[in-house]
Amino acid sequence: MAYWTADEQQPAYDVIVVGSGAGGGQSAYTLCLEGAKVLMLEAGRRYTPWTETPMFQTPDQAPLGGVGTPQKPFGFYDATVDGGWQVPGEPYTQANGAVSDRRGSTGAHPQGGAESPFEWWRARMLGGRTNHWGRISLRNGPYDFKPRTRDGLGFDWPINYEDVAPYYDKVELLVGVYGSNEGLENTPNSPPGCLLPPPAPLVSDHLMRQRAKRLGIPLIPGHRAVLTRAQDYQDAPARLHPGNPQAQKLVRLAMLSRAPCLWATPCGRGCAVRANYQSTTVHLPPAMASGNLDITTDAMVYEVTLGPDGRANGVSFVDRTTGRQRHARARVVILAASACESVRILLNSRSTQFPDGLANSSGKLGRYLMDTVGSTVTGQIPLLESLPPLNEDAADGHQLYTPWWLYQEQLAGKLGFARGYHIELGGGKRMPGYDTAAGIEWLTDGSYGKKFKEDVRRYYGSFVGFDGRGEMIPNEHSYCEIDPVVKDKWGIPVLRFHWKWSEHETRQAAHMQRTFGDIIEAMGGRCHPPVQTDGARAIAPGGSIIHEVGGAIMGADPKKSVTNMWSQTWDVPNLFITDGAVFASNADKNPTLTIMALAWRASDHILERMRRKEL
């Protein structure tokens, strides 16, 4: 077990896992703890959160006060390295012919109707996006797997909630998710012992809950992958790996190595004490400790190779440290490189047998790309002005949230859009910095001098924000394909994106705006900027919520989907996809928890088939 360079790899493995984020990490974990020999290939560099995470660093210690730049888009201290909307030397293109070297401006131009740009976030590092993600961990509900049955739009999954529920249980138990069971519609409860206690609400949360309730909008404890107390290292391992004492031991040790939340420092920086979920702190350590996982970083996979029997026999990759092309062999190949990157690898794996890309006999590879509908309203609340000093770092947000609450009104056709959204809330006295007093002329009449300092003290902590996160219905106009001309610096053909929202999404965004405006008014506050009721202007650009899924959707019909119910490609029996590419719909629930649950499920299936010598 260890990190190996391309020269040091074993001649062959049971399974190659491409990618090391939520899907790749979960796949490697499940396979290795059950005895399979796995090679993980990660395009980015090795990353060790326990030595690299800036836990208590303050803005005065960072260039530009830590503000985001094109090289660190989410701020200097964000965990992401070598990533962002643009990765130097690795462009992508848009359908209108432009090389995507610029970001659109959120809300500044209409996003509906015509084709609009798609923005692709990548993180070239071990653990991928799990190092910086928001940790919001929501289960899809029963409706979310059968949306077409419910409203006639989009696609049903070939599985239902009951198929995935045991894996949600296991993932929650393994990674550690806080939350509560409220029994609300299509918002599943977890079995006893799965969830950790949710953090206490902030003052602003209490006010939001009180006033939203008057509007009939429920606020309940959020669900995030943060340890609000130590994990149950005594009983959980046996629940996760019954009959496997070695795996239980490794998981017990891994759980003991994680500290509970310190109630300080933003999760987006990563966590040196492993209190939140990152693939690098949760999935990979026990997998490596099993002795069954080899990891090669700086390995940019560009092709799945086929043997004469029509089965995958390995992958080709560029060793980024030398620029040389290499090959690795295995009995099974799992792609978990992120939805679009996995699609890109398959589209670039062309052969006489698969001239349009591997596993693309359906012609659906790259199709039905989805992101989450996003729209934000912020406001200022006089009731929250001039509060006494409070430590409101908490677990870094999402103490409360609002699950979609209008299922029945929607089904009755009263809303004008077919799918729902949840609300993420923000407020409190966050650590002051570059954003604390910027642009507040609308409150201060342009004060400066001593009055300005007084104004900032008065308004600090009185701002609130509401983020809508809604379901997009897959459509024929949103997809990616290989650009016929442009290649990246390794010579690998790049993706070209097509993107179009339907009115289901833009109307939903307008509904978000009106709703959030109503809540802010009910709190006695004012929205700034004003509510945007033109949904095409209210909706965030495609890709910008970084919930892109689809592109290799699972289905019951090989002619209409890329994988089957086991995330196994219809065309190549030993080729699986365990990232978001297989999603047949993109519920408002953030995709990561479902990616992990499906990866665990697919990996269990692979193990079973390997034991039966079918793979």
Binding site: L64, Q71, T106, Q399, R430, A438
Partner: protein, 212 residues
Amino acid sequence: MVDRRTTIKWVITVGTAWPLLGPRIAAAGPVEAWQGSSPAQGYGTDPDLLKAYKPGDVWPLTLTAAQQRLAGILSDLIMPADEHSPAASAVGVVDFIDEWVSAPYPNCRDTRSIVLSGFEWLDAESRRRFGKGFAAADAAGQTAICDDICDAARATPGRRDAARFFAVYRDLTAAAFYSSPVGRKDLGYIGNVPLEHFDGAPPELLKKLNLV
């Protein structure tokens, strides 16, 4: 020509569209993507996050002595000493602004253009009205000029660009001030320390706000 609207919007979007989850906005806002013409530009995509940086550590500072002097005077007009905290210039605001306007990133370049044009406008306006540059004018004269441009909504059409400059400069001053330990103390921020448990909102405060 620099699109000032874009620049201001960048600073302001980063500032206020989502004051709660700062990093999110920098990405969600209209940040023009940028691929430096040379990898040496900026701090790169993989900087050392554990090191403590000072202005000038990553790229050279570029304001002249006269510009720094003017910057200090203006910052202290915007954030003077009071009974809670010292003036802006005493907490390193000028170096922060120098770092910002000297940075290679496109939005910082745009801000540089706005700030340096604004400095020139201040000097020209002061000469026109008082026969001497802004730094040499007395406090009453300096305040009179700032009063004309401190609120873009009230500025006369001829002073609109100057008012936009003032808004950007005030944001920069505040960004520097509240990023500092002094600024955190001024606002009574008591977080960023490890706690054994988190108790949430104090019950007596909730009661006072009728939130129980």
